[in-house]
């Protein structure tokens, strides 16, 4: 409350200062004008202009209305005979004054109103954007809880079975269970890293902090990390011969590459996967190609929209990459790049681009 009061007092002061300032300037102009032409009509017009300006640059109706009265009084007092005295009874003048009051009052009201409408529109837009973000967040949360619950069920189940074992499980079965726990835990870790990368974007509000990174270093680190997680994957990588520096948040782009590669390995069923990066015009183009069945047209359309609950063809439901792909899209968009999916002769292909900027000044 106190803050609001202080704000309004400050606003009031600002209004007074602006009104007085504009009137001083208008009066000076009017005096100069009057000195040459002796025409009080032009003087009145100068004051109407002043009233409009006051309405435009102050808040609320009051300053505009006050200004219009002030203008009428000024014209009467200073610029009409008898000078330096108020006299509203001169022939014809009452009408002039009434008209002037009306004109200035109306303009001030119109200006204030249009200002108010603008404000309302802005607020509505902001509200809509907030709502959209809220929906995105809700969708993400829903997908997350689904994708987290499945591996957790596996981990808890296998751990319970292991603990409840009364000596009937063979060594082989036991090691199979622990391996399952380890696999699911790794999957969870990947998920958590994805979520962490989302928070990195949220902090900066849709844009990310980029710095110039060596493209091949980012690619090689991403591939290295993928190999650690999926030793069976056979990744073939190719980067441009030319040394490229690309503005990006390296950790996020790494996440995108890993998600797409991992997605390809899981969904194609084949362990072979290619990653090509080429420079095309002012963009770096990343292509991830798998050797699987490809993507059905229905799925292609909404593949990046976080449809995490959809059962995938292999029936291995917790490998649904719903969140992973929607996070890829968020990240690439935040870099002002584009991402899309399509099929090529031997399987599915995911492509994303990052703009190469000329500026090199934002390097750490």
């Amino acid at each position: 409350m106190q803050k609001k009061e202080a704000m309004s007092r400050k606003a009031l002061l600002m209004n007074i200062v602006i009104t007085i300032g504009i009137f001083v300037i208008a009066t000076m102009l009017a005096i100069a004008f009057f000195h040459y032409s002796r025409n009080s009509t032009s003087v009145a017009i100068i004051y109407i202009l002043a009233v409009m300006l006051v309405a435009r640059y102050t808040n609320g109706y009051v300053p505009g209305v006050v200004a219009s009265f002030l203008g009428v009084i000024c014209v009467n007092y200073v610029f009409t005979y008898p000078f330096m005295r108020l006299n509203f009874s001169i022939d014809g003048y009452p009408i002039t004054f009434v008209a002037m009051t009306l004109i200035s009052g109306l303009t001030s009201m119109l200006t204030t109103q249009s200002k108010k409408q603008n404000q309302i529109l802005n607020e509505q837009e902001k509200f809509l954007m907030e709502a959209e973000k809220e929906t995105m967040r809700a969708n993400l949360l829903r997908a997350v809880s689904h994708d987290l619950r499945t591996p957790l069920t596996g981990i808890i189940g296998m751990a319970d079975a292991y603990l409840a074992d009364s000596g009937r499980l063979t060594e082989e079965e036991k090691s199979y269970m622990v391996k399952g726990i380890s696999e699911d835990a790794n999957w969870l870790l990947n998920m958590v890293e994805n979520l962490l990368s989302v928070t990195r974007i949220r902090v900066g509000e849709t844009r990310v902090n980029t710095s110039l990174e060596s493209l091949e270093e980012v690619v090689s680190e991403a591939v290295q990390r993928l190999r650690k997680r999926l030793p069976q994957a056979r990744v073939q990588v190719q980067v441009p011969e030319e040394f490229l520096m690309v503005p990006m948040d390296a950790m996020l782009i790494e996440q995108v590459i890993i998600n797409l590669l991992e997605n390809g390995v899981y969904h194609s069923g084949a362990e072979k996967i290619d990653l090509y990066v080429v420079k095309k015009d002012k963009e770096a183009v990343f292509r991830i190609r798998d050797y699987g069945k490809g993507i059905t047209p229905e799925r292609l359309e909404a593949i990046f929209d976080g449809g995490g609950t959809e059962e995938n063809p292999s029936g291995d439901s917790h490998r649904g990459m719903g969140i992973g792909l929607s996070i890829c899209k968020t990240i690439v968009n935040a870099h002002e790049g584009t991402i899309w999916a399509n099929n090529w002769e031997q399987g599915a292909e995911f492509v994303f681009t990052l703009p190469l900027r000329e500026d090199t000044g934002d390097d750490k």
Binding site: L196, E216, E217, S220, Q224, V237, Q238, L275
Partner: protein
Amino acid sequence: MTNKQTILVIEDEKIIGSYIETILISNEYKVLRAMNGMTGLSLCTSHHPEIVLLDLGLPDMDGMEVLQHIREFSNLPIIVISARSQEREKVEALDGGADDYITKPFGAEELLARIRTALRHRLHAGQGQKHELVYSKDELVIDFERRLVTLQGKAIHLTQIEYKLVSLLARNAGKVLTYDYILKEIWGPYADMDNQILRVNMANIRRKLETNPAEPHYIFTEIGVGYRMLE
């Protein structure tokens, strides 16, 4: 039994601490454990461990502080345990005197390799002698005396700066070197430059030493931190 090397583990999380302890004990190390920074420091002064594993997130004090305190009186190897996504923290720790870092979650192999590397480098430094005269790994051989680099038996031509870079990394093989450290070592302490020149040079080296620059075999990048050469 007496020649077992002692490792001090300063880690507040019980499960991770026991996990590390299990790995280390089964690999013939003696383990001291501290759950917070103060205990860690006093154990460090009283027991003189050979190496310290330090978690940066401790309940009582900042891990960086512990690092600084230890460095005030000892030069023993310190490996920092940190969470991923905090490159800044890793770089600060390395430039603040840590020998290496390991990222959570890590496997047993990775941890043991880091410990061996740190111990080995400390041994060399302690003896005050020159490092090995030759780095040899797979197809790559670097002869430090003759300043000669060969790959699959063929001599590789490197520029002056490139050779300095490769030999610096090779002498510290297995250990991560930060951008700042490398820049200072190669271009001198007063060189005023960003790490872009370093990355351009590394790209050239990669094209000369690696079959595929996108899949390096000898020199690895740790984005945001620095470079590490195959040990």
